[in-house]
Amino acid sequence: MMMAARGIFLACLLFLAPFTARAVQPDEIMADPRLEARARALSAELRCMVCERLQAGDSDDQIRAFLVRRYGDFILLRPPFTLETWLLWGAPFLVLLAGGCIILIARRRQQSFALANFLSEAERAKLDSLLARMDLEAAAPAANLCWKGSDSVRAFRLRLSKHEIHLFEMEILHDRKT
């Protein structure tokens, strides 16, 4: 169950902290009791770096910095944010962001595609009348809104807010259902 690296690391932790009140954390105990016994025997002969520093009045950050200076970033189970780990820490945000963008793009494509391809004659008439009701006709020259092909759809999109397009779409969907 445990990686060897983790085992070694935990053993390190055990060397470093044998004398504090909660010296042995449950997850620092090794799976194999024989290894556990050896780790304890070894740690009895090693200084407790963390305890010494704590007694010297160092802050948590100072102690962490001290350990990293001696043993490198490998000693930290929570890797620091550095040039080498920005991708590790940034991955969740990047994926979330990329996913969000993909969803937005797919949605826009789907909407324009749907409006361009799925409107029947009657629905186009309905859309025209809706448009007229919203009094956009004055602003939009009728020539631009012939509801065929993607260019006019794009023109249509430019003139209407996303919310308005959504309203149209929903109204038409509603009509289809009833």
Binding site: I29, A31, R34, L87, L88, P92, I103, A114
Partner: protein, 660 residues
């Protein structure tokens, strides 16, 4: 002799898989029905051959045939029969054989149970399944032959790793493999759909039950593995964010996402490209997991292999199958027609959000697991990515998912209304707040535990809001309710239970914050208070098992003076391997557990004991059982029993019944 026939059966299975990789695809492209008809019987025969090879290896283990390297290295004549049987998959070669056995089992199941599937789709699915089978059979035969003989057989074997001599080994790997490898079917479906270019609701309807079967098995397998680690490793931890665990969590996350978006694809014909992508991704992650565990890239109890040849071979399989399928995907996805429209606030929209979060979770686990390996390979720098990283990234991602889960259940298809749904959830939300206030006043304790418990309560209550309204909305009488219950589709119940199960697991996880631990030296006669219980350590008794000797620390647990139960934590010594193993003493009291493990037994009977009181801990695994139960309910739904509707229609067609 049976060993050689087993080996031969495996070679035959490879030849058959190779033939079955080509003929059905050829048949489907040339519309030759005879060639397409080759696939089902070939899949069944392939399964029989692999099963025979598997039985042959099992027989060798059961009779302790020490002329086999595999048996010598992993068995012992004194080992109990159950571990002789389960020990077959407790080693690299045997577990790969189990892998292929499950793979061919799923192929055979498709051949048997999907008769109503379109002929070309079925032929292609079975062909793709055969590609995977051929690759892994080749892997076994070339690098991991379980049937290798020794020139001179030793009198005794080396025994199985004591950590694996546990009932957990009997259940955990087969379940996990059913899930892991079961996802191969969704992959084969996706690849077949891409090959034939037919990606529609038919595809979604046929792929759903298989995804669900894999998901149920994976859920149970992961839970079982976690419980096994909990009681054998001796410190009461149940999830370590170990790469091997992550390897099983990633496919689970992807399968969960897939399960939801196939529903959208089937009902609304939307999200087609995404569904195909996820289907490929889920099995790709299973392959990555197999690579991580089997290649020896990571060294742990699970990684028996240390032969680099194996690692390179699996990596090659990985590249061919993942790369190939994504190339095919890139080629075909552009030509897919857009499906049904939906508003952002709708059931579909909620599932899109669910998929976004689950995929991000999956990507987080993926980077966290592989980053240290990648960094070391590129810069030589060593890095540790441990539990603190995952707690900081994974947990904040999952909490919004919990909050949104009941919303998704209540939103209608196409277009919904957030405020309306929020109103319906207000009761669940209010109850959760009261629950939190009561917990804070009664138990106090860490704020995180209180908050997470509240979220869990809200999820559990919210999961049943939809069901409750449908059953009890309007007039309430026993007759009406039972009539309505019969009228509701079973997948409605399934969804409610699966979601609530996740909430139950969260409650168990949240309650770990109220746990109590004591690490102390005990001598017989000592008493220890732990949580609401008092433990008295009575005596240390030596005992002998079939292939081990143990020292048992008899301990009586008392609740308010009355004896509740007795536990027997032990340390075991296995002479064949010269290894120790601790056996925790666990008493389940209510939903909590008293957990005790002992070590370093001194001649005067003094032991080092670790004692824990873990309130509600059982809920972690009970939650998983409820999730799986929900999955089974959905699976039993008519709409999931593929082909029934079709068959019924066929039967009805010649003689239409008159209307009443």
């Amino acid at each position: 002799m049976i060993v050689e026939t087993g080996h031969y059966a495996l070679v035959l299975a490879l030849a058959l898989a190779l033939a079955n990789s080509i003929l059905p695809v050829w048949g489907s492209t040339t519309a030759d029905r005879r060639l397409m008809a080759v696939a089902p019987p070939a899949a069944l025969t392939g399964f029989c051959l692999v099963a025979y090879a598997y039985v042959a290896l099992t027989v060798a283990h059961v009779v302790s045939d020490f002329s086999l390297v595999n048996v010598v290295e992993n068995s012992h004549s004194a080992k109990p029969l159950i571990y002789k049987i389960t020990g077959v998959w407790g080693n690299h070669e045997g577990s790969m054989l189990l892998w292929v056995l499950v793979l061919s089992l799923f192929a055979a199941a498709v051949a048997l149970f999907s008769r109503s599937m379109p002929e070309d789709l079925r032929a292609n699915v079975l062909a793709v399944q055969s590609w995977i089978a051929a690759a892994f059979l080749l892997f076994i035969l070339l690098t991991s032959n379980p049937f290798a003989r020794l020139a001179e057989a030793p009198a005794e074997g080396n025994d199985l790793n004591p950590l694996l001599q546990d009932p957990g080994l009997a259940i955990h790997p087969p379940l996990l493999y059913l899930g892991y490898v079961g996802l191969s079917i969704t992959y084969s479906f996706a690849a077949a759909a891409l090959i034939s270019g037919r990606i529609d609701t038919v595809f979604a309807r046929f792929v759903r039950p298989w995804t669900l079967i894999a998901w149920i098995s994976l859920t149970l397998g992961i839970a079982m593995g976690s419980y096994w680690a909990y009681y054998t490793l001796g410190w009461g931890g149940f999830w370590f964010w170990d790469p091997v665990e992550n390897a099983s969590l990633m496919p689970w996350l992807a399968a969960t996402a897939l399960l939801h978006c196939t529903a959208v694809m089937e009902k609304r014909e939307a999200l087609k490209i995404w569904t195909i992508f996820l289907a490929i991704l889920a099995f790709s992650l299973s392959l990555v997991g197999t690579f991580l565990v089997r290649s020896g890239v990571l060294t742990s109890v699970h990684s028996f292999a240390s032969d680099p040849m194996r690692g390179v071979f699996i990596l090659l399989i990985l590249v061919i199958f993942i790369g190939g399928s994504f190339a095919l995907f890139a080629l075909r996805a552009g030509g897919l027609k857009q499906g049904g429209l939906f508003a952002p606030v709708s059931r579909e929209g909620a599932i899109v959000l669910n998929n976004l979060i689950l995929t991000t979770c999956c990507a987080t686990v993926f980077t966290g697991t592989l980053y240290p390996l990648a960094l070391e390979a590129v810069t030589g720098e060593k890095l540790s990515v441990g539990a603190p990283f995952f707690n900081l990234t994974f947990v904040p991602l999952f909490i919004p998912l919990f909050i949104l889960m009941p919303f998704g259940q209540l939103l209608p298809w196409k277009r919904g209304d957030v405020l309306g749904v929020a109103q319906r959830l207000a009761a669940a939300f209010g109850a959760a707040l009261i629950f939190m206030a009561v917990l804070a006043a009664w138990r106090g304790g860490p704020a995180v535990s209180v908050i997470l418990s509240g979220v869990a309560f809200y999820v559990i209550a919210g999961s049943f809001v939809d069901l409750g309204r449908r059953l009890f909305g309007g007039g309430i009488s026993a007759g009406i309710v039972s009539q309505r219950a019969r009228g509701l589709p079973r997948h409605t119940f399934g969804t409610a239970f699966a979601h609530a199960g996740l909430g139950v697991t969260l409650l168990g996880l949240a309650a770990t914050g109220w746990g109590v631990e004591k690490i102390t030296a005990l001598k017989p006669g000592d008493r220890v208070e732990i949580g609401p219980y008092e433990l008295s350590f009575e005596s240390v008794v030596p005992r002998n098992g079939p292939n081990y000797s143990e020292l048992v620390g008899r301990t009586v647990i008392r609740a308010k003076g009355a004896v509740a139960t007795t536990i027997e934590p032990a340390t075991r010594f296995y002479p064949a391997r010269g290894m120790n193993r601790s056996e925790a003493g666990i008493a389940t009291l209510g939903l909590g557990q008293v957990y005790m493990s002992i070590a370093d037994v001194a001649p005067n009977g003094v032991v080092n004991a670790r004692i824990y009181w873990k309130p509600l801990v059982a809920l972690i695994w009970i939650g998983a059982l409820i999730m799986a139960f929900g999955g089974c309910l959905s699976l039993s739904d008519r709409s999931f029993r593929v082909g029934i509707a079709r068959r019924a229609r066929k039967a009805q067609a010649p003689s239409p019944q008159p209307a009443e």
